[in-house]
């Protein structure tokens, strides 16, 4: 491809001229002599990153993590992780003289007596919410577009672990101010630990350094929050990014893009500038949120007192879905041989969330086991072109959403003046029915969209021009879509032929005997059938040609009518009408 440089502004094409050795050059030489940087950097400085708005979601998560590190370090300079009791003497009047933990007192100090302290506290909290929300949406983008497939399964697993760690980091973080709300959360966590079979009370007593609430939980959470989990997060984020660089980013199909290349802008300068600029934008948005949107006003809740609680106690939103399950779970408990097994706590907290995480981690592996697809994939898929996969995730999202809504059953009851009992009974059923319904609707919706794509490919797009035939029939005129768009729509795999795929397992062997099939293989066959059932395949070259031939024929028939539209129709907005007049003598 040649570049027409005649049109280019001069100032933008000046080649960089080699300069005389200068100080920067000398420093670079010094460093390269010792570190060999040039070899490493030449491979990566012009590395190509494809562009799409949805690739920004992971970046939001990354940059909000950086904001968390920066604002968090600031907070540690004043926060005192101690449950030692003090009389508050700071500048927040309503609490002066009240006995409270040093942790809470220092949180008040940060909020009222350290300039910029409240800004940093609120930025830290907002950034945490942004971090987790961005991770979740990024995860959905990856799954809906098929970016979790080989060779990226392990990066998917790392991502799931990041989500888990981020959630735990959030919980330990909002527990640190030791206010009434966070203390209630810790107490509920103590209840969860105690519900664990056999080891429950031991776990509780070990974590709290004795009987709840003890005086150890805040310093221990502090170490977990500022050292242990951030260290793990940092390590896993590094691994996540290294794998991203090694695999190279996935890209959307389009003209010139294949499974074998990656098309986009080089890291230096364009991608580095965009990503670097985006860091400032995420940072800036967090600063605006921290300055203008109040979050977690701990001074209103008061210090933690184990005999008090406020109405409408709720955890941060990302802990909401297990809390919702906890609310709608029936009060089942077994009493056997002098022991108590609390199903009402174990199921929603100790069993379902780990199960959901396991399902999430296993999704790529389950998919490739069902489809038998062991190829590398670098071109993204539109969600509609993998209807079953899309439906599975929407189904999981529905479960998540309903559980989350159940976590606000008291607020729903108050806001809409409904009976909390009825909401709870409804949710008990909805968490089972909703996902099933969502699966069916999503799958059918995807297939409808596939049909629409097929129609556009074969018959062109609707022009909005209504043609009337000499016989008096009306039809809408279709025109073919551009080649680039048509290619993009067909740049996807055909689903494998099921009969062919399964014939190997199915047929009789050389001795004419039915081969033995394991029950697992049977399940796999059924899942495989479900996976692809009713999907619309892209048209073959022959189908496309036949359709175009048909269209041309139709256009020929219509050509006779071109320009002799019914009176008045020349003003349909599709033609120049300067010379036109209405025919006849109106």
């Amino acid at each position: 491809m040649s570049i027409d440089t005649s049109k280019v502004a001069d100032s933008n094409t000046t080649a960089a001229t080699a300069k005389k050795p200068n100080r920067a050059g000398a420093a670079a030489t010094w460093a390269d002599d010792r570190l060999g940087l040039a070899t490493m950097m030449k491979k990566n400085l012009r590395k190509v990153f494809p562009d799409h708005w949805s690739f920004m979601l992971g970046e939001v998560a990354l940059w909000s993590f950086v904001v968390l590190l920066l604002s968090g370090v600031f907070l540690t300079f004043w926060y005192v992780p101690s449950m030692g009791e003090v009389h508050y003497e700071g500048s927040y009047d309503p609490l002066r003289g009240v006995e409270m933990s040093e942790a809470y007192a220092s949180s008040l100090k940060l909020s009222f007596d350290v300039r910029g302290g409240l800004l940093m506290r609120q930025m830290h909290h907002w950034a945490a919410m942004l971090f987790i929300a961005a991770m979740m949406i990024h995860l959905l983008r990856v799954f809906f577009t098929g970016a979790h497939r080989k060779p990226r399964e392990l990066n998917w697993v790392i991502g799931c672990l990041l989500l888990l760690l981020g959630t735990l980091e959030g919980f330990t973080g909002y527990s640190l101010p030791d206010d009434l709300l966070s203390g209630t959360g810790i107490r509920a966590a103590d209840g969860f630990l105690k519900a664990s079979p056999v080891v429950g009370s031991y776990m509780s007593f070990f974590l709290f350094g004795g009987e709840f609430p003890g005086d150890a939980i805040i310093p221990r959470f502090y170490t977990i929050h500022v050292l242990l989990i951030p260290g793990l997060l940092l390590a896993l984020i590094t691994a996540h990014m290294l794998l991203l660089v090694y695999h190279k980013h996935t890209q959307w199909p389009g003209p010139g893009r294949t499974e074998h290349n990656v098309v986009g802008y080089p890291m230096l300068p364009v991608y580095a500038a965009k990503a670097g600029g985006f860091f400032f934008i995420v940072f800036g948005v967090t600063a605006l949120m921290g300055g203008l949107l109040s979050i977690n006003p701990v001074w209103l809740f008061g210090p933690y007192d184990p005999s008090k609680v406020t109405a409408g106690s709720q955890p941060d939103w990302y802990m909401g879905w297990p809390d919702g399950l906890l609310r709608i779970m029936p009060g089942w408990e077994s009493h056997i041989f002098g022991h108590t097994i609390s199903w009402n706590v174990m199921v929603p907290i100790l069993l379902v969330p780990p199960l959901m995480l396991t399902i999430l981690i296993l999704l790529p592996f389950l998919e490739s086991w069902i489809t038998g697809d062991k190829r590398d994939h670098h071109l993204l898929q539109r969600p509609r072109n993998a209807p079953t996969r899309t439906a599975v995730m929407v189904s999981l999202m529905t479960f998540y959403g309903l559980s989350w809504a159940a976590g606000g059953n008291d607020l729903i009851a108050i806001t809409f003046d409904l009976s909390i009992n009825q909401i709870t009974y409804f949710m008990r059923v909805a968490v089972f029915l909703g996902p099933a319904l969502a699966f069916i609707i999503t799958k059918r919706w995807c297939i409808s969209l596939q049909r629409k794509d097929e129609e556009v490919l074969l018959h062109g797009y609707e022009t909005g021009i209504i043609m009337r035939s000499p016989e008096g029939g009306y039809s809408e005129r279709h025109l073919p879509i551009s080649e680039a768009r048509a290619f993009t729509m067909t740049a996807r795999d055909r689903d494998p032929d099921l009969a062919e795929l399964q014939s190997g397992e199915d047929g009789v062997d050389a001795n004419g005997l039915e081969p033995k099939r394991s029950p697992l293989a049977g399940i796999r066959r059924r899942l495989q059938t479900t996976m692809y059932a009713d999907n619309i395949q892209k048209p073959t070259a022959e189908e496309l040609e036949a359709a175009h031939h048909h269209a041309e024929h139709e256009h020929e028939l219509q050509a006779a009518m071109e320009g002799v539209s019914a009176d008045g129709h020349q003003f349909d907005g599709h033609h120049l009408v300067e010379e036109e007049t209405l025919r006849g003598d109106h």
Partner: protein, 387 residues
């Protein structure tokens, strides 16, 4: 460039060959990448022709973009200065739109400074930096067969030279030693805390352990926060009072509190109760609890049997008590049995009587552990008998 890359190019580790590809139907390169299906209905038209932006072809537009970007950076610097000004000049007690003026001023100026830099850089990238898309070939994630073989050979050579396969005694004793090393790693954490049994046995403070609370025979039921004792006549029918054991407010002869620090918090976390008065005719006392009320005044643990939230929402008309955390509902007129929600057990009831001065006191400690369930809890045991 035809796009037909020779197979030697890609997997060599550099993999970095920015090429303009017009015909992208290239051969599969290396292993692991899927072959292109033969029946593609539409041929890959190749990368679209690059189009020039106004800033590429019009020096005036270019200058304008340059000025725009510089203005954004300049404004950012202004915001940075405003931040410093606000830090030293906006008072801590002033408010604006209901928020602390200082936080608003610092947040907006910092946000502005950062956002403007970000927008400026991205504008620079979009308007002025070269916008040619370039193409890089992918290489399969897997190593080449030769590399695999070479690595395997090195591994087996290493294994061979170490003799790890031939000397099972050395290998297994090492594995054993490392496994045993797990024990110190686990044991080290034993002192994270005492067990429930140890806490109960040591009895370092009144009501130590999950089975007990500070309540005891003759301990007065006092109002929380203020700590004043309560006479039956202080309560009207329908009242609900948050109460505590007198012990947590008690002081010794020097005026020093009896309970401080952890013991005080533990006492509060298990001893908190609610006191309610109803028409004795409305109450259905549990078996063996016929004499636990004083003229229709009943006392129940305030700690939810679900996960341990203090319960506080009272429905005066129905005598129902609702937990604000997970909405378990207890019927105070029927031994505080669960009538709705996730809790499985009734709230423990504290047997009441009146002392010689006419104040409400406990007959004894709770007859069952308060708070959430745990494995060792014998929930089949009697909830009315004294052990």
């Amino acid at each position: 460039m035809t796009g037909q890359m020779s197979p030697e190019h890609a997997p060599d580790g550099t993999g970095h060959q920015p090429v303009e590809m017009n015909d992208a139907d290239g051969q599969p390169i290396g292993h692991g990448l899927p072959a292109l299906p033969p029946d593609e209905p539409i041929k890959n038209p190749g990368l679209p022709v690059h189009t020039w932006r106004p800033t590429d072809v019009d020096p005036a537009m270019e200058k304008r973009a340059e000025r725009q970007i510089a203005a954004l950076f300049g404004l950012s610097a202004v915001c940075g200065v405003l931040f410093v000004v606000a830090y030293f000049n906006v008072g801590e007690n002033e408010t604006v739109i209901g928020l602390g003026a200082q936080t608003v001023a610092l947040g907006s100026s910092l946000g502005g400074a950062l956002l403007l830099i970000g927008i400026g850089i991205i504008q620079w990238a979009r308007k002025l930096m070269a916008d040619h898309e370039i193409v890089e070939m992918r290489h399969p994630a897997r190593s080449s067969d030769e590399d695999r073989e070479a690595t395997l050979a090195q591994l087996s050579q290493g294994a061979e030279e170490s003799g790890i396969g031939r000397r099972p005694l050395v290998r297994n004793s090492l594995l054993g030693a490392v496994t045993v090393l797990l024990a110190p790693a686990v044991v080290l954490f034993r002192d994270l805390g005492p067990t429930n049994a140890q806490v109960t046995e040591a009895g370092d403070y009144p009501g130590a352990g999950l089975e007990h609370t500070v309540w005891d025979r003759g301990v007065r039921v006092v109002r929380d926060v203020v700590g004043t004792p309560i006479r039956p006549s202080d309560l009207e029918i329908g009242d609900l009072v948050n109460a505590e054991p007198e012990t947590i407010f008690a002081v010794d002869e020097d005026g020093e509190p009896l309970l401080e620090g952890v013991p005080l918090q533990v006492a509060k976390s298990k001893g908190a109760v609610v006191l309610t008065r109803m028409d004795p005719a409305d109450n259905t006392p549990g078996e063996g609890r016929e004499d636990w009320d004083v003229d229709g005044i009943l006392c129940y643990s305030k700690i939810c049997t679900h996960v341990g939230c203090p319960i506080s929402l009272n429905e005066r008309k129905t005598q129902h008590l609702l937990c604000p955390c997970h909405q378990s509902t207890f019927d105070l007129a029927d031994s505080a049995k669960v009538i709705f929600g996730p809790a499985a057990r009734a709230l423990p009831q504290l047997p009441l009587m009146v002392d010689e001065e006419g104040y409400l006191v406990a007959q004894s400690d709770f007859r069952e552990p308060v708070g959430p369930s745990y494995w060792e809890r014998d929930s089949d045991a009697s909830t009315t008998e004294i052990e």
